[in-house]
Symmetry: C2
Subunit: 197 residues, 2 copies
């Protein structure tokens, strides 16, 4: 069996590339190629960490959050919803909307979820590939609140701790939401990648 | 255990919505919400149908192809690659590019795959949520050819047979690629949804 934490830590150390400006290239595992068995191990680890939270639904954002979210959903046996960045033609009816500031594009990204798939009474675990400044995570958690549901946790595969996502969530109304990352990066200065112990 | 074919056929009949112009709303299963156990059954069914093809890699397109592709990859124990519609900042180095005509947007969509993740010698199974006119499928199969790899099959959850995707692939150099769909729709005229037997 794959140890999720050992795997991701080793992968970042051995194959992660620091592209500068806090950008970490882990395409071979998260953002372009997916190794399904590894992703399943990540999902099982999130399921273990949030086992006591009586999760009824998982929410993520397209695109790279989908694979870890689906594997967590498989382990917890709950539905997964992915927020869309553009409202597709098939999304009729009421929606919840949240905005997240975008670093790469400037301005804001919108996240949209159909009201059909986020219900008052749901206990929602948010899963994403990265936690960086916390903008996307906060937008997802805001969608949960807007629906009258309860955000019970946030799980991300890689946390860029030096970008302050946890503090941002704490300061923006989500202090009580439990945050779990499988690997945490303390610094990407000088072309290095320093992992937390 | 979930019977993939029965499930998708029943779902389309009971909950699929014909929005006109050949647009089928199946958001609750494929394009917005994902039921992980159902998706796993779809992946296992694709794995069974392509078991003899010695698949070494699965290729799909973001966004809604990711979940069925990952579950098929899990069943076949091979890596999955999802072609991107925009080249992300982390995608450095050589890429393969293909274009697919877009109905909703007009013009063309580009699909990009890093050359790192599609290798000559690979035997590639293309998985997607829909097969409609065959434009996206052909673009994915062209990416495989461009890499010098062998396209060994195309699996899609829902085929809109009345849009002629198979004939398009046949006429565009992929006559020998085996195509499998879990449910095939013969017609969406007059607000109805007619499934093939």
């Amino acid at each position: 069996m794959i140890n999720a934490v050992e795997y991701i830590r080793h992968f970042i150390s051995a194959e992660g590339r620091n592209l500068g400006n806090g950008i970490l290239k882990v395409d071979a595992l998260l953002n372009h190629q997916i190794l399904p068995e590894v992703m399943q191990a990540f999902g099982q680890e999130f399921a273990r960490r949030f086992a006591s939270q009586r999760v009824t639904r998982i929410l993520t954002a397209e695109i790279s959050g989908i694979a870890p979210a689906v594997m967590t959903g498989l382990a917890l046996n709950v539905p997964v919803v992915y927020a869309r960045k553009k409202r597709p033609v098939t999304m009729s009816g009421p929606v919840y909307l949240a905005e997240a500031a975008s670093r790469t594009k400037g301005g804001t990204n919108e996240l949209v979820v159909s009201a059909e798939f986020l219900l008052a009474g749901d206990r929602v675990l948010v899963i994403d590939d990265f936690l960086a400044r916390g903008q996307t995570s906060a937008a997802l958690l805001n969608l949960v609140r807007e629906a009258g549901a309860t955000p019970v946790g946030l799980g991300c595969v890689v946390e860029k701790a030096f970008e302050g996502g946890r503090a941002y969530l704490h300061a923006n109304g989500f202090a009580e939401v439990s945050v779990e990352s499988l690997a945490s990066i303390l610094s990407m200065d000088d072309g290095k990648i320093v992992l937390a112990d």
